[in-house]
Symmetry: C2
Subunit: 143 residues, 2 copies
């Protein structure tokens, strides 16, 4: 397979996140921002930009994986609302945000994108968060 | 069925939109904002707030209806990007935005929500838009 059609995570997504692991279709990322519990799913198919480019069966797999991440965030965080979105105006690679929102969070009731500056987790908190998420999503670090 | 479990469109959604028609699960609304080609799908189930509250088969119907709206907006508008999102921080009733975005639109690359003021369509333009959308979505005015 030529290198240009192999999946590679967009470097801007990689820079702001930690990889939790791979589900059947999607790589699950944790946004390294202590202000919001925030997962991102990236289907591991090269060159994808729009949801409608993904075949129906793969979309249904993605929907199941969105539910899995949403259930886990909902169970762990007990948010006031979940925000689920694929925008891609800045990073065109297809990716889906699943964010636990609270009525007293740093952006409420606005969307989180472009609000203030990302606040990275302290390293020990990030490690603990990754361990909890991998257990809840039944992913291993090497998945 | 008691009145409180009958579906009713949130009045804030109703105030900003025109009803295009009803698909199998969702009411399709056109946001009355000339700045952005913007549809909203509202599953006609009373009391829904979160995607994960909807059973899997209904979610798959919703996904098909999102695709239908996204294809129609993509074909009509040839946007640079589609934005698809369910947020609900302001209006909790479950609703899904499908928005055609352009690199020169009034909010790019930011999300559209909360940016500036809504610019209602002139009445004749709105009527023409509704006619085009109903034809493209194969909906009738009384659906």
């Amino acid at each position: 397979m030529p290198a240009d059609i192999v999946f590679a995570l967009d470097p801007r997504l990689a820079a702001d996140t930690r990889a939790v692991g791979d589900l059947e279709l999607s790589r699950v990322l944790l946004m390294n921002d202590a202000r919001f519990p925030w997962l991102i799913l990236v289907p591991r198919r090269a060159g994808l930009r729009e949801l409608i480019e993904l075949p129906r069966d793969a979309q249904q797999t993605l929907l199941d994986e969105i539910n899995r991440c949403a259930y886990v965030l909902h169970a762990m965080e007990k948010p006031d609302k979940l925000n689920i979105a694929t925008l891609g105006n800045v990073v065109a690679q297809l990716h889906v945000h699943v964010i636990a929102r609270f009525a007293n969070d740093a952006a409420w009731p606005r969307p989180v994108w472009g609000v203030g500056e990302r606040v990275p987790f302290p390293a020990t908190v990030l490690d603990a968060r990754m361990t909890s998420l991998r257990a809840a999503l039944r992913l291993t670090a090497n998945a």
